[in-house]
Amino acid sequence: MTAVRSGHTVPNTRRTHAGPHRRGLRPGWVLGVIYAGALAVLALWWQNTDSVVGAAGWLTDGARITGLLAGYGCAVLLALMARVPAMENGVGADRLARWHAAGGRYTVCLVAAHVLLIIWGYALTDRKNVIGETGDLVFHYPEMLKATLGTLLMFAVGITSARLARRRLRYEVWHLLHLGTYLSIFLVFFHQLANGAQFVDRPLAKYFWYTLFIGVSLVLAWYRFVVPVARNLRHRMRVSEVRFESPGVVSVYVTGHRLDDLAARPGQFFRWRFLAPGMWWAANPYSLSAPARDGLLRITVKAAGDHSRGLVRLRPGTRVWAEGPYGAFTEAKQTRRRVLLLAGGVGITPLRALFETLRGDVTLIYLARRPEDLALRDELEAIAARRDRRVLCFVDDPAEYSLSLTGDSLQAVVPDVDERDVYLCGPPGMTRAAHRALREAGVPARHVHHESFEF
């Protein structure tokens, strides 16, 4: 539900740190809690079901299980997108988004199974045809009209989120439509308690369900509404300058009150909303492309989608609404003194900030298509000279300056690559190749820190 469309805009992040403990929840723990909750939901069904009799029983109870799991799935999907700092920083926004996408597909399938099974099962019990039973269910059962509307809305969102359809749709339109799921989940909530065999007459089960959904709603409202509103009222950010960096790439400088209090760390990102005509309704994640200092934040963006193209036209003084900082792609991931930063194209942005601030022996490999696409190159070289670090730039064209991403070529340019922590950020094709090359070069997977470019 978040983020940037493929390959273009800017990376989001994760973080690193030489420190002994990392901030935030471990991904494995979060998954464990999610699965434990699913088991509890199955236990709810098990506890409240005496027997499963005949074909109608199998269908109806199959429908109940899928329905319960789908309801639980909705709560989990909301929680994953609630921007809880411990999860954003521990699990990483990119991974949360991937979980959310996979969980969303799964939940929509559960809903579809629930609808089909319940209609079929009830039709068998009632000895009616499926169409008559459907009409009956929709119009004569409590809260079912609302639930039907909510389900149709959910399917609409599901269909438009499918990969193919999404490619044909503008990201911003898709994102807005996606917000319809809040309404959808609200609409279907009531039929669960009114009709669910596991809830009728079971106050305890009802409390459990209420607690789950009200709890998730409160967390969501807090971190996606209250906190951002309070922060933005306080910091009152504005665009101070827009600078061209390379063909199609601009940097946007943002000022505000007491920005240091945000404690944004290099490698992190914000979700930015620029209150300019045609842009105010979309919030896109862009990494900070320089350490935050002197009350100034900077992002560097490649014009790709509508949102990023609009950045070029931003005027100084434009109000900015930002949510963050988020991301676990920071110094907290660093466990070795020697570090290799591996950037592809505009994936340079978080690495540019880290290049300046990481401690130890830092080398940066920067890959781009053409020499003029090497955005921020001058300041990278300046940092390298000042801090005695290495920048190695490669381009596909002309070919004599290219670097093929293989284990051998990596070892040729960075002989001790297997003793380094590697921070990787770039477009999907490049990061896939880089993962393979790093493995070949003998870098253990736990030392490869990757922030996915697209969500």
């Binding site: 027997s51 499963v52 009799v53 005949g54 199959g62 019990t125 000895r127």
Partner: protein
């Protein structure tokens, strides 16, 4: 991607089928969640001991109408069973007994809160009555798909017969 989708789907289908398979499939063994107040003794089983057509004398339930003839031939009259509260609503039946023999069952109430309840009752009650009259007692099977209504019916029927034979 594709492989994970197939894996997730088959794991879900298998898991749900397993859960369903582990539950008892004999409706008769189930207990209605409503209080089995009207059911004598063996709660936990929907089949009930056949009433002995014996006791000529003794008090009859308050709802008894009609005469009760003494002697070995057993009671005659109309007896109203207890109201059994099932999860979906109350069930109550009234029986007609002639010389200790069950000759008629009239249903006074069944769950009727919504269309499904009414249809389940409409579907199950005639079959239950048919079975009860054929068996002459409350030792009948529940109708699948209408377990709760069936159990309420059987419970109320048993209590009515208990009164008739008390």
């Amino acid at each position: 991607m594709m492989r994970r989708a197939v894996l997730a789907t088959s794991a879900t289908v298998a898991g749900i089928s397993l859960l369903l398979a582990l539950k008892p499939h004999n409706g008769g063994l189930a207990v209605a969640s409503g209080s089995p107040a009207g059911r004598s003794g063996d709660a936990g089983s929907a089949t009930v001991t056949p009433p002995e057509a014996s006791g000529p004398s003794g008090s009859v339930g308050p709802s008894k109408k009609g005469t009760k003839s003494g002697g070995k031939s057993g009671a005659s009259g109309t007896y109203t069973g207890n109201t059994i509260d099932t999860r979906y609503g109350p069930v109550q039946v009234q029986v007609t007994v002639a010389q200790g023999k069950l000759t008629g069952v009239k249903v006074l109430q069944t769950p009727s809160e919504n269309g499904r309840d009414r249809r389940l009752a409409a579907m199950s009650v005639p079959r239950l009555t048919q079975e009860a009259l054929a068996a002459g007692n409350a030792r009948i099977d529940t109708v699948s798909g209408a377990t709760y209504t069936s159990e309420g019916y059987i419970g109320s029927l048993q209590s009515a017969l208990d009164k008739a034979h008390a």
